[in-house]
């Protein structure tokens, strides 16, 4: 069974993928919750536009999203130049850029899951909290967010899984640099492009499947616990 053992380079790709996906998920979570809440609970001018922009990466070719990111967040792009000059942050050809690409691609899935669970919350409970003296922020923190927890967890796991599989936008934006931006999908792609890479591709494929399956099981378990709690059991 020696062929199942990952080479050091392959381990690097696995660890990088986990790191990129975790940060893509964690960094976009606050924005995801905010946007989901805005779409679920507020009416404002430009709501349809916001909804459209959030969902755009879902329907656009990933290469297009990656190229747009390169244009805006590349070293010479408007946002990229600003961030570099003022904060010394660089996205292009760095793992942080990979995380940004994954976050953008996963954002619609995260927002959708959280939004649906916020919409399912009985607004009369929020009104009841209001009559007990809770202002909008307190209502959100003590009623809305805890009750939406199953959806938030589902959104986080979905975003993580999506980030683990992101390929097109990442490779367009930050290329395919081993140890820096070469995530699992990029590594598998590279293996398939070189003679004798079949075994490596197969090993990383198995790792991908295992991680995706694990994420699903953990999310099921967490969501069931959270929804029991929300249902008061």
């Amino acid at each position: 069974m020696d062929w199942l053992e990952l080479s050091p380079d392959e381990w690097v790709a696995v660890r990088l993928s986990l790191k990129v996906s975790f940060w893509a998920m964690a960094a976009s979570l606050p924005a995801g919750i905010l946007v989901a809440w805005l779409l679920a609970r507020r009416d404002f001018w430009g709501k349809s536009l916001l909804n459209g922009i959030v969902h755009l990466p879902l329907v656009m070719p990933p290469v297009v999203t990656g190229y747009l990111l390169l244009l805006t967040f590349g070293r010479r792009g408007p946002a990229g130049a600003f961030l570099y000059e003022h904060f010394g942050i660089t996205f292009s050809f760095r793992w942080t850029g990979a995380a940004l690409a994954c976050a953008v691609m996963a954002f619609p899935l995260m927002v959708r899951a959280i939004r649906l669970s916020i919409e399912a919350i009985d607004q009369r409970l929020e009104a009841a909290a209001g009559t007990l003296g809770a202002g909008p922020l307190t209502v959100f923190a003590t009623i809305t967010l805890p009750l939406a927890l199953p959806g938030v967890i589902a959104g986080m796991i979905l975003a993580f899984a999506k980030a683990m599989g992101e390929f097109g936008a990442t490779i367009t934006f930050v290329s395919n640099i081993p140890g820096e931006t070469q995530t699992l999908p990029s590594a598998i792609y590279t293996f398939t492009q070189v003679p004798g890479g079949e075994l490596g591709a197969l090993r990383l494929t198995l790792v991908s499947i295992a991680l995706a399956l694990g994420a699903l099981l953990v999310s099921e378990w967490l969501a069931r616990r959270a929804s029991n709690r929300v249902a008061g059991l």
Binding site: D122, L125, A127, A129, T131, L132, G133, P146, A231
Partner: protein, 364 residues
């Protein structure tokens, strides 16, 4: 403690236009469904913003459209017990109870958790979650939660409507305790006259968005014209009577007021305490002479004050019994045969009596 309401609010075809000022410890908003009761409490709570008008509690203005004042619900400190309880499902009973208390300004907190829990008998529920409570238990917790948020007024929107008859009987004593002990005025929405007669110190009768009548319960209840539909026949006199005697051998209690004496099945009440006695007009007969050989025990002597035809066949007789008015609903045929007319001395024969503890009812 006063509640001032003067509002005009249109919702589609429905116009709510009501003004009253109540200082009672329990003001009932009474009327059939669709009469605007819930809209009115939602205006008081701040969940509905009226197009025009003014609402104040104890002089503190909550809404005043003229000066563009509108306090958000969370700044009003008005407790609200909803028809469907609305307990927070993810919190335990204890956390639900303390939710409003935790948010209330410290100096306003009068009610203690222990005292409220004792008053409502919910001590054994504290660790549970709302999903495992019965309907009646949920309502008791909801009442406690509202009370602990240190409100200056508590609104109760048909808190018994979702309960069956047995459960309703379970909750009513707690509402009475709240009315008499908590020193927080209550506004109680109901479409059931029996509930209102038992609980209210004052009644505002709403009909299609308008105030049909407002006044102390004892003045409103005998006005049979106010109560139509399902509640027709529920109206009648409300007397405040004193427990004057207990007869253990026959299991009966004698109640007395200036109107006379009434005998009821044994009441568990001390001599001298006051009780609320409701004499429904349809349970009162009229006799021109003292009846002999009649099983009904309760006779009140008096003189007819007025006689009015009601509907096709009914007649409403008001009898003055030594200063207290008793109302009888009889047929017009009987009234004609007996040649009843104002000024005539008669006996009111009472078939059924419902007795409630008097509590905060104005006595004497």
């Amino acid at each position: 403690m006063t509640l001032q309401v003067d509002i005009s609010h249109r919702q589609g075809d429905f116009l709510l236009e009501t003004a009253f000022e109540s200082a009672g410890s329990l003001t009932a908003l009474f009327g059939p469904s669709g009469s605007g009761k819930t809209t009115l409490v939602n205006v008081i709570a701040g969940l509905v913003r009226p197009q025009k008008g003014h609402v104040a509690v104890d002089g503190r203005v909550l809404v005043d459209t003229a000066s563009r004042t509108f306090l958000k619900p969370h700044r009003r400190r008005i407790g609200y017990v909803f028809q469907d309880a609305r307990l927070f499902p993810h919190l335990t009973v204890r956390q639900n109870l303390l939710y409003g208390r935790w948010l209330a300004p410290r100096e306003a907190q009068k009610a203690q958790l222990g005292a409220v829990v004792d008053m409502l008998d919910i001590g054994h529920l504290l660790a549970r979650r709302p999903a495992l409570l019965s309907g009646g238990e949920k309502q008791r917790v909801a009442i406690g939660r509202a009370l602990l948020s240190a409100p200056s007024l508590i609104l109760m929107d048909e808190p018994l409507a979702s309960l069956d008859e047995a459960r309703k009987g379970e909750i009513l004593p707690y509402v009475e305790r709240l009315r008499d002990a908590a020193r927080v005025p209550l506004v109680y929405v109901s479409h059931q006259l029996a509930e209102v007669a038992r609980l209210a110190t004052d009644i505002a009768v709403l009909d299609k968005g308008r105030l049909a009548a407002f006044g102390p319960t004892a003045d409103i209840l005998p006005r049979l014209d106010l109560f139509g539909g399902a509640e027709a026949g529920e109206g009648g006199a409300l007397l405040s009577m004193r427990v004057a005697g207990q007869d253990r051998a026959f299991g009966i209690t004698t109640l007395r007021s200036q109107a006379g004496e009434i005998v009821v099945p044994r009441l568990d009440a001390a001599l001298g305490t006051y009780v609320r006695v409701r004499l429904r007009a349809r349970d009162v007969m009229v006799a021109t002479a003292k009846p002999q050989g009649l099983s009904a025990l309760n006779l009140l002597a008096g003189t007819i004050v007025s006689l009015e035809a009601v509907g096709d066949s009914g007649a409403e007789v008001r009898i003055d019994c030594a200063g207290e008015t008793v109302v009888a609903r009889i047929t017009r045929l009987s009234a004609t045969r007996l040649r009843l007319e104002p000024g005539m001395a008669v006996y009111a024969v009472v078939k059924t009596v419902s007795v409630e503890p008097a509590g905060a009812m104005p006595v004497g």
